[in-house]
Subunit: 160 residues, 2 copies
């Protein structure tokens, strides 16, 4: 009669495995200076830029932390800040040309991960897994299926 590993912890294992692979792929492609936390933030940036608070929300961190990370990414030349025409308070964090270079690498590795996982589970079970995970994510965070969730939200380091 053993205690089972919780589902949440199993998700942690899967998530970390994927994240490790993406960060490793980035490092191998020459982006060795991108940290895990930075990658998680980058993952939330949309093509036409995203506000700091939105990034913080997506990465589940307070905006002060997001600010520090964006500052680092900006100093490293991956992102830039442009004014948000629709709101004078806001600024949009956007990928620079240099920052856009990480996209193909991250996406490629992410695609490989999905393929590997599908190799383990098969097409049908993989689809069921994604559907279930999606529903759970929605139930935990209803605000997730906001209009833009299905929109241009292009993950950067292969995530989000």
């Amino acid at each position: 009669m053993e205690r089972e590993i919780s589902s949440g912890w199993l998700m942690f294992i899967g998530f970390r495995a994927a994240e490790d692979r993406i960060v490793a792929a980035l490092a191998e492609a020459g982006y060795a200076d991108i940290t895990r936390a930075q990658a998680r933030l980058l993952a939330g940036i949309d093509v036409d830029g995203t506000r700091l608070v939105v990034l913080a929300d997506r990465a589940r961190i307070p905006k002060q932390t997001a600010l520090a990370l964006v500052n680092g990414l900006e100093a490293a030349g991956f992102v830039e800040r442009v004014p948000d025409a629709s709101d004078g308070r806001a600024r949009l964090v956007r990928l620079t040309a240099h920052g856009r270079g990480v996209l193909p690498v991250a996406i490629a590795e992410e695609t490989r991960i999905e393929a590997d996982w599908q190799g383990v589970l098969g097409v049908r079970r993989m689809r069921a897994l994604r559907k279930a995970l999606w529903e759970l994510a929605l139930s935990a965070d209803p605000h997730l299926h906001s209009p833009d969730a299905a929109q241009g939200a292009n993950a950067v380091p292969g995530e989000r």
Copy 2:
């Protein structure tokens, strides 16, 4: 044509939701001083104690980080270190009486989470989800199904 949220990121969302609930439950029960990282470490402690390197491995952190966390937990009275009879080098990190107090709280919340998720997916799909997650975890970390994986490994903060 929108980019899908990666499976890894969906797992992140689920994991964080679960972790947040457990940490919140602990805080509400009076264990407000337990941090996220500490909880993840506590989750890996077996009933009869666990070595530092094993804890580090389970939480996916280097042993130096694990050491710092254990030091903190020891100072706070949650764990103690006892010699490992089978190996003079090793010491076992074990829950104190005070530390064992967090167990019921964490397990209760974890149970509630599993129930909630099952409420969303239904029994059959929940079982399929766990099975799939488990297989992916195994494929990413084959060393996971070590003998003790099915043994007394009792998660502490509801996780493992």
